[in-house]
Symmetry: none
Subunit: 210 residues, 4 copies
Amino acid sequence: MGNAVQLPLTPRKAPRQERAIATVDAIFEATIQVLLSDGLIRLNTTRVANRAGVSVGTLYQYYPNKQALLLAVLERHLEMLVVAIEKACGENPCPKKEAIAETIVGAYLQAKMAQAEVSPSLYRIAMELDARALIEAAAQRNAQAIEALLSNVADGSFADPSLLAKTLTAALYGTVPAFCHRVLAPADGLEAQRQLTTMFRSYLVASQSG
Amino acid sequence: MGNAVQLPLTPRKAPRQERAIATVDAIFEATIQVLLSDGLIRLNTTRVANRAGVSVGTLYQYYPNKQALLLAVLERHLEMLVVAIEKACGENPCPKKEAIAETIVGAYLQAKMAQAEVSPSLYRIAMELDARALIEAAAQRNAQAIEALLSNVADGSFADPSLLAKTLTAALYGTVPAFCHRVLAPADGLEAQRQLTTMFRSYLVASQSG
Amino acid sequence: MGNAVQLPLTPRKAPRQERAIATVDAIFEATIQVLLSDGLIRLNTTRVANRAGVSVGTLYQYYPNKQALLLAVLERHLEMLVVAIEKACGENPCPKKEAIAETIVGAYLQAKMAQAEVSPSLYRIAMELDARALIEAAAQRNAQAIEALLSNVADGSFADPSLLAKTLTAALYGTVPAFCHRVLAPADGLEAQRQLTTMFRSYLVASQSG
Amino acid sequence: MGNAVQLPLTPRKAPRQERAIATVDAIFEATIQVLLSDGLIRLNTTRVANRAGVSVGTLYQYYPNKQALLLAVLERHLEMLVVAIEKACGENPCPKKEAIAETIVGAYLQAKMAQAEVSPSLYRIAMELDARALIEAAAQRNAQAIEALLSNVADGSFADPSLLAKTLTAALYGTVPAFCHRVLAPADGLEAQRQLTTMFRSYLVASQSG
DNA sequence: GATGAATGAGTGTTCATTCAT
DNA sequence: GATGAATGAACACTCATTCAT
């Protein structure tokens, strides 16, 4: 690693053959496994390649460098989070304002919990690499989905849905990890979810225009 | 580095001579400077020592290892944050409930902004090292200060001040960095502060008993 | 080095390609050469690698650490000594008791002399590293070979061949180096061999039962 | 350490004052203690000085370098061994030839056992440092004492007492450590002593002239 | 005389990346 | 395409020794 490199988040050589696709997948999965079993610090390309059952050389045929490999994993994680939010928002396009907070918090927490194991490592990747672009992109899509939801509330309206959406997104992306990683958690996860929902709901209520 | 080590947050050898004290300080400051100019990844003990104008050996006379050095910096950062909150809470022991959110958010943001430059590096330190103990300790002191404040509101009362305090702390420690690091920020910082205050205020109002 | 480590006496990665085998050999030989020319104290992995005409990294691909490298050399030395004794004992399975001492002493001294140059360094390796297991194993095989010989003397028998074998082995492994390293040597090597033979022969004669 | 240095086995500055003598002693004892508790590898001048309750600078006022310190310890150990032999030989100036072996082996083993703890470390010192001179000197005094004994046997005479004495010394200095360090030991120490005595006695008997 | 702060060369080890086979 | 041997810069940390106070 070391120096900053460009961001080629997908394998540089679009694999045409089936075998190649299988290889890429194997490497990808091996990365996650090594992350889980050995941790980010002990993750090195040789180990990943071995775990994937291929040689280092092969790994470098599909990922130009270690950074790209890790960013790919991070990218998929973020994608899942965003999609979870987008799906939740899309399924209930004109909600009552009381339900919004629950929808958002519930969807995000569920998606996050599904990946609880890798999550800390991913945060480290996000900080060590130049992943700002990736995260910002995810956050923006997230905010857009929420904004769309806020713009279509059935019973009322918000003066600045965009601002609210951004704030909620920031709170979501910031607070939830703090809960998940048990740095500062209410006794049980359910309680945490309840409190966060309350906070979001009251914030939205307080922010509605008219 | 590599594996987790014990946490010797203070210089291992209590410096007896004045010269020694100056050296310790120089090393500490050099660490922050290197963090700012070169970043965490390029920070190595030799560079820090050089920047401090001493030899590596000297560095190791006061900090048993690189981790200890970095944790010392992180420790001081957290201390400043906690003290800022404690001071703000202490100065206004029986506030009106409407004012609480503003007090907390204001104090935290101001303290955070004062260290905005190093902050991202510190987050990385916190993730890479075994700093959980340090952060938990800070978060707990933070929560205690807030809880004390909540228990003494002039006009009303809260059913579970401890739970509220923990949730606010988590939201604070999580959301604010997201704002600061511009990952997802409202257009200007002032607006961010306003929104966060609104969120906290409405959350507290919604949570008061009776 | 420093602390005791496990004993991986063989290259950690079984070399698959021919080139690799040549490399392992080169490293092994280079170790002995550096031992001879620079001494154990000045032997470091970089120097060995350079002498072998490879990079340090390559060295570490085949030997997990410096200790393993040195133990491998020691192991081979001990193997040669033991094999020399085993062969000498095996070639003359039912000797007359008068001939035993000469057989043992002669075989051991000859093998030792063939490696006289490296020998002092090897002793240092043996002391500094946790080579007890290695040496004990060699000593035991040695004692077993001698015991077998003693159990089959043509003209007489010994009450406790095992005890005699152990004692002779200890005397051999201890006294011969003292001679070799010239710490305390009779004028010439031949005389030393004669004396040691006399000592062993008379000891065996004195120890025979009946 | 590193390079070979001259051999100043005694403190370079003959300490005239009582306090100085006490300091030298304290350093000397501290060296042995560190050797016992931390081992030769972890022994460094700072640690020795601390254990002695003085500063490194003070240590260097009495011993010019680490080597000198260690050689001083080795020197005293060897001195005790030699003196034990000399005393044993001196106490019984005209022994019967049957008793000689017992005298020598007994005296040596007793002296050695008294220092069993430090002994392995001392062997390492002897190998790592240029202690050949020291050891040779000790061995020669040892051989001389034995030779004197052999020259005065009450009942018989030896053709070459000098050669016998040298051989016995070599066997003593070599074999006994092998027993002591349990590398290859008969079941119990007493048995070892008995065997060695037998070996020496029969060797002497076989070597007597006429 | 004593102190202990400072030195800095030296060492073991790792790992991303390349390239000949 | 795949392999895996080779590279070598980089880094954390140690310790004998010196010298200003």
